[in-house]
Amino acid sequence: DTTVKQNPRYKLARVGKPVNLICSQTMNHDTMYWYQKKPNQAPKLLLFYYDKILNREADTFEKFQSSRPNNSFCSLYIGSAGLEYSAMYLCASGTGGAETLYFGSGTRLTVL
């Protein structure tokens, strides 16, 4: 099974409320990534886990958190959603850059 699963497919959230998005893969990949994709913009890397080590991009450092309790599972957490967080969130997994990335179908987050 080479699929990366993301839940939910659509998410509505209120401004100021927390949001938790979930991603899983069963390919035993050591690296899992989260991207934010807005219309007419390139996907933006938010953070990635290499094994148990979390790497966050400098410009989104304070806005997003993540956890990876085991190799298969990775979450993206927004502590207090703002309108600007409305976007498609894509999860991907790979083997630390040596192989192709496999993308999930994404979660479309709308913040109201």
Binding site: Y33, K37, N40, Q41, A42, P43, K44, L45, N55, M88, L90, G96, G97, E99, T100, L101, Y102, F103, G104, S105, G106, R108
Partner: protein, 110 residues
């Protein structure tokens, strides 16, 4: 700065014609991927390249690491090829990271 410059930003092709998309890299890239974004927004893998070329049906891609560019050739364009194409390059600098191009919005017309 922009490490991945993708061109053109938009393209209209007549059905049955050929064209090429291009990504230039301002620093040395180690690998390149090409994706097609579906209408829902999720990304579909097209190619993963270490330096070299790959072909799949009417699509062909090349990555020249010495000249720092990659191309995606579309032959005999079909209506279903319409969408936004992204390249993504991997760079190494105290670890590896990936950067996306800004995308090429392709419309194939009858």
């Amino acid at each position: 700065g922009d490490k991945v410059k993708q061109s053109p930003s938009a393209l209209s092709l007549q059905e049955g014609t050929n064209s090429a998309l291009r990504c230039n890299f301002s620093i040395a890239a180690t690998t390149v991927q090409w994706f097609l974004q579906n209408p829902r927004g999720s990304l579909m893998n097209l190619f993963y390249l270490v330096p070299g070329t790959k072909e799949n049906g009417r699509l062909k891609s090349a990555f020249d690491s010495k000249e720092s560019y990659s191309t995606l050739h579309i032959r005999d364009a079909q209506l279903e090829d319409s969408g936004t194409y992204f390249c993504a390059a991997e760079f190494r600098n105290s670890g590896t990271y990936q950067r996306f191009g800004t995308g090429t919005k392709l419309q194939v017309v009858p």
